[in-house]
Amino acid sequence: MITVALDSAGAAAAGEWIRAARPTHPALIDAHYDLATRYHLVNVPSAVWIDERGRIVRPAEVAFADNRFIAYTRFDMTRYLDALRDWADKGSASAHVRPPADRRERLALPTAAHARAATCFRLAEHLHAAGHPEAAVEFFKEAQRLEPESWCYKRQAWALTDAERFYSTTFQDEVKALGGRPYYARPDFPPDAHEERAEP
């Protein structure tokens, strides 16, 4: 297991959580959202399964360790953890490893606008760290406009400043604005009659 904290403030933001968890795995910090750009991650927590040959066997999907956020995931995470254990045990023979064509179909590939969003975000976080918070807001907003599906771009920007003052919004307002659409894309599992739960 490798964990990566997406946090523009780096260790200052993620450090206390990592220390509290006393990890025995590599617990890394990505202050520039490099991983998010490479794997086109639009929310956290997101996990990717990678096999012994360095191949993606399950593209990025929501991955919580339990069901405390089931109102947001609308998915029983015990199914995900069972699948993860099955893959750890059986490897490519696991039923949760899909054929390559299926995996490619599930990839959320970046568009030109998404690539521009990542570049605006990179500039914004640099401007913020360099002491130009107002100039940073302009580029954070541009990243959010170019890729409105990315909760990373929104929530990171809000966390660095006063969201209501600079972005005229809050997390709860934005979740409400989803109007019933899911906060997380559903993990790639067959339907289960019991999984649909309360909306946020």
Partner: protein, 140 residues
Amino acid sequence: MNTTVLTRNETVPVRAAAVEGEALWLTPEELARATEWEWTPDGLCRGALCVPVPPAAPWVREHGAGTRVDLVGLARHLGQPVAASPAHGVWAIGESHAALGDRLRSLEAPDFTLPDLDGRAWSLREFRGRKVFLLAWASW
């Protein structure tokens, strides 16, 4: 003028030959430091990959002081996105969506190198031969 070029994971201070609006004119030496593109007789080369420079490319100038390349024009020629704040002396150069998408479609897990709390750099490639559960999270 001192300027900063932001690439994938690097923050590179460069000395601009000239700034004109968004255009950032660099000497070949500064261009190589900022982007790893080397100015050669075969065109611009990064490792074994060479890109020919079109005749009369508006992002190249030759004059008495030598060759100058506009990093923004070059990036756009290569399909790479640019975000710039000339007033703050900062240019961010991203990767093209085609390059990002092709890498994902190959299903080869994109490599990365990131530090832990102790400053040790870890790369995904170190884990070849083992299954990796790669989990991204955030404090926000």
